[in-house]
Symmetry: C2
Subunit: 232 residues, 2 copies
Amino acid sequence: MNEIKQSSPPATSNSEDNTLSGQTTIALREAIVTGQILPGEKLNEPKLAKQHSVSRGPLREAIRRLVSMGLVEHKPHVGASVIPLEVNRVIELYEVREALEGMAASLAATHMSEEGIGELKQLLELHRQHYQDNSGEYMQAEGDFDFHYLIIKGSGNALLTQQLCNELYHLIRMFRFQTSRFKARSNRALVEHEQLIYAIENRDSALAEMLMRRHISRAKESIRTYLTTEKP
Amino acid sequence: MNEIKQSSPPATSNSEDNTLSGQTTIALREAIVTGQILPGEKLNEPKLAKQHSVSRGPLREAIRRLVSMGLVEHKPHVGASVIPLEVNRVIELYEVREALEGMAASLAATHMSEEGIGELKQLLELHRQHYQDNSGEYMQAEGDFDFHYLIIKGSGNALLTQQLCNELYHLIRMFRFQTSRFKARSNRALVEHEQLIYAIENRDSALAEMLMRRHISRAKESIRTYLTTEKP
DNA sequence: AATGGCCAAATTGTTGACAATAAAGCCATA
DNA sequence: TATGGCTTTATTGTCAACAATTTGGCCATT
């Protein structure tokens, strides 16, 4: 009962199909995100096809989808490989997130339903209690996703939601997994979430955007200093 | 000699490969963008494969890439079809552009090289002369792309550039083609571009972002009123 | 011993046939 | 005549074999 509900975010249970290529996409995606296939590692088609008990057709299709998610690079006549974990890429991802999720927060402040705002409050309360009970460790990982997902969905912009929740989402997950030793910032995040809800509740789109952007920008800077100092 | 250089933007000469699937992707993409295949139209695999003289394998791969560009929708066991042209989608696209290109302008103000700024000025001068000579009609289409592309590239953010120039770019082209009867705003665009260059030159990232966002937001509103009044 | 070109192995790109699913039309029945 | 279920047909999903390209290693030459 200590489990947080895994319903809201599109986590693993994406709206994928039940075709072989769809299932293979999910399997490969999770293998990459959870580090079973390492950054930079090459994706050998015959080998992976045998592993997943499919022919090369569906497997190639799965690889293509991973390319469109940004998890995999592909060079003609050479092959596909998991994207290497470079500091620059992480920074760039956070800059794109800042732009996109900032807009999402702004739109959510305008369009989000009262019901949606209620869900946000409910989630915040859940996180707050969990923070008091435990040492407040994990929330940064799973909990943050739920929160951001609700806001993105609340923007009412399907393209924006698609870009963030289907394309970039798994890239974020992967980077976060690879740098998971680095936690911190759990209490501050709680306060920042609270302020964000307040702004959305008051239909203050400019403030909501600013808070969201600052929220992400701070995370970016934390990661930047972490990755550039402890690396060599 | 009246032709504007087509070098800078990734227009048709994308960094695609020389494989069949790559060429088919380009061919199909252009057919969709230029309206040879209409919005909402279904993509019949055997028929298209025969048309382009390839087998269904590469063609399916091409379709998948178009899906990742947002030009095509795909339902399992049903098939792919060109995305329908709805007002909401256009508005949503402009909102995403506003967020992404706003960030690009901000980053460009910080990172763009003096040389890049020089190119911007050069391009602006070209547009200004063309506006004086002719009635200043087309610039909105081709010219605007060049300008925005230079700024996006100047951001130095590869992911951002990838998202805008490879994924969303052709969606913009398609919508712009489908609503091409609607021009206007040619002189104002010139002034707005001039202001933007000024902001970037002065390394004023906040101003650059604001001007770019307003630039796109205005275009959005123009299109919104145009599409919602003249439609029925 | 280092370098250059050539050959072979492994991997990717492509093809056509086969299987599974969904849409459309038909017939029977109420 | 309208409706429901069935059959047929067209289309998508999958497979295994074939062709083309790259990479790595080998040998000859300088």
